[in-house]
Amino acid sequence: MLVDQFNPLEGKMLSILDKDGNVKDKKLVPKIEDEKLIEIYKTMLLTRVADIKALQYQRQGRMLTYAPNQGQEATQVGSIAASEEKDWLVPAFRELGAWLYKGVPLEQIFLYWYGNESGSDFPENVKMLPISVPIASQLNHAVGIGMATNIKGEDEVTLAYVGDGGTSQGEFSEALNFAGVFNTPTVFIISNNQFAISVPRKFQTKAKTLAQKSIGFGIPGIQVDGNDVLAVYAATKEAVDRARKGEGPTLIETVTYRLGPHTTSDDPKIYREDVEVEEWKEKDPLIRFRKYLIDKNLWDEEKDEKQKEEFENIVNSNFKKVEESGKISLEKIFKYNYEEMTPELIEQYEEYKNYIEKGVK
């Protein structure tokens, strides 16, 4: 078991590909079909392309606040790829790659960041919760999903995401503790991207690793190289398999780096040095995985260029649709607070509707 081999208290971190895409230890390479390897890579690439574009749109004033993902693609896609369609995804707010792999239409994701609630009205078959803005509060939802899974006797697993900053919230601990007590099929993934906005990981906790937080809840924990998609996949797959077999939750810390700003309102130059960013750029998860695929003859540079171009077009056309979506209707902001609008809401709605119909607003 990887969780036994890589004890965070002994300073061990699971890492399979080095930064040049070479396999360090063949025994650790997870079994993944070629087709799936390519799907994983493509999703990482789409994530990268969509992310860069979204940032551009925002800088052009065409998009609202947006939370970039660059550098974290391996963490995002490697983890979700180890789950199945029947499994649940409980996001924090920075897992674009995971959402895309899970099947959320890019258009919806853009719609959300564009400021429209309909972006969270996912298709029926996408078992994913909406983005959760209050840090770490989503983790208890994930545990509740798993409690229901257990009661119903089903075999679905829940993947729940949280940032390094999120591990300081009380709810993080409550959720992991519940998961342990109720033995829920939950895999917690800490995207440790080294920062909570401006606050570096080392000020977030005195613990050397975030993975070791699992010990306080009696559940297994493991730290993995979050820029190594194979390592992330391997650790998650093991955890998912255990969860599915009824062996309970796991905590995975993926060590990665946010290459971009926290959000488009953030200026990282205030709180970190460019050299640090440059160092991490060398560990770019995409480059590494691409080299691995090329070495395996599953991919080449030409394909890559073409694929990128195709994705750029897809992204552009998706965003165009979003831009054409316009504002939200009055009805829609009233309609969903309850299954049926209350008399008071009807009154407020009608009054205001009549008012603006006079052309006022």
Partner: protein, 325 residues
């Protein structure tokens, strides 16, 4: 027809609904094995299994947060906060998620769940065991807030709350948990959420109350019966959504209004009722709509509680005052 008090009516309703609907699960601190510190869930674990009625670790946010996930995944959780004073650690979940999930997802996910909690003062308890926090929940869009005052209502409203597709905060006036018994029909029935009950009709003044104060108001009315003051007494039953229609109609008839509640006065629930009356019956008013409430202080420990608790005499005197305005 079983003779039940309020706490046994809760137990009875939970039992019936767990039998009827296998997706109903009941949990919280001490809720399972022991059956709750007030015995609201006594016997349910034994009868319906440890899967469906169980204890949790001591963490209110965990309880409510996990209930969100449960509800998303097909269950109907009925969770207990041991006292309403201990709901505070769960506020982020309740105000930030429970109330908003339907709207956030444009209806993709709704949360059929109930958060039960004993509430209110008058039981000579420690700090944080006597709070009246209905206003915080009532002001939160997306929540419904229900407060029963009799065993009959308790059963009908709790069943309605569990079956409601929206999240319901179910506040149980603990002071009257065992205060009196009532015949409660064995068979299934619900009472509508969002509808007040006219407890008694009258002509001179409308008095609105809920929870434990319904009985106190009834005693007050008895006290002034002989004085020729005819009171229309309304038990709100649901704080949100507020049954404005019933209230306004009544005040349009009586021209006078009194709301009595135990929660603090300023920015309290009474203010909304006074505003409602103003907006709906201003031209009918013969006296300023009035509130008789708890003081704007932390509810005192038992040796000072007697000052805080509103007695029938105070209600009677306030009615007299308004009627002779």
């Amino acid at each position: 027809m079983p003779l039940l008090n309020n706490i046994s009516a809760i137990n009875h309703a939970l039992d019936k609904e767990m039998e009827r609907d296998k997706s109903v699960v009941v949990y919280g601190e001490d809720v399972g094995f022991e059956g709750g510190v007030f015995r609201a869930t006594a016997g349910l674990q034994k009868k319906h299994g440890v899967d469906r009625c169980f204890d949790t670790p001591l963490a209110e946010s965990g309880i409510v947060g996990s209930a969100v996930g449960m509800a998303v995944n097909g269950m109907k959780p009925v969770v207990e906060m041991q006292f309403s004073g201990f709901v505070l650690p769960a506020m982020n979940q309740i105000l930030g998620h429970v109330a908003r999930y339907r709207n956030r997802t444009r209806g993709r996910y709704n949360l059929p769940m109930v958060i039960r909690m004993p509430y209110g003062g008058g039981v000579r308890a420690l700090e944080h065991h006597s709070e009246s926090m209905e206003d915080i929940f009532a002001q939160t869009p997306g929540l419904k807030v229900v407060i029963p005052s009799t065993p009959y209502d308790t059963k009908g409203l709790l069943l309605a709350a569990i079956r409601d597709p929206d999240p319901v905060i179910f506040l149980e006036p603990k002071r009257i948990y065992r205060a009196f018994k009532q015949d409660v029909p064995e068979e299934d029935y619900t009472l509508p959420i969002g509808k007040a009950k006219i407890v008694q009709e009258g002509e001179d003044i409308t008095v609105v109350v809920w929870g434990a104060l319904v009985r106190e108001a009834q005693k007050a009315i008895k006290e002034i019966e002989d004085e020729g003051i005819s009171v229309e007494l309304i038990d709100l039953r649901t704080i949100s959504p507020l049954d404005k229609e019933t209230i306004i109609e009544s005040v349009q008839k009586t021209g006078r209004f009194l709301v009595v509640h135990e929660a603090f006065k300023s920015f309290g629930p009474g203010a909304e009722l006074i505003s409602t009356v103003n907006e709906g019956a201003f031209l009918y008013l013969e006296a300023p709509p009035t509130r008789l409430t708890g003081f704007d202080i932390t509810i005192p420990l038992p040796k000072g509680e007697h000052h805080f608790i509103i007695e029938p005499k105070q209600i009677a005197d306030k009615i007299r005052e308004i009627v002779s305005f």
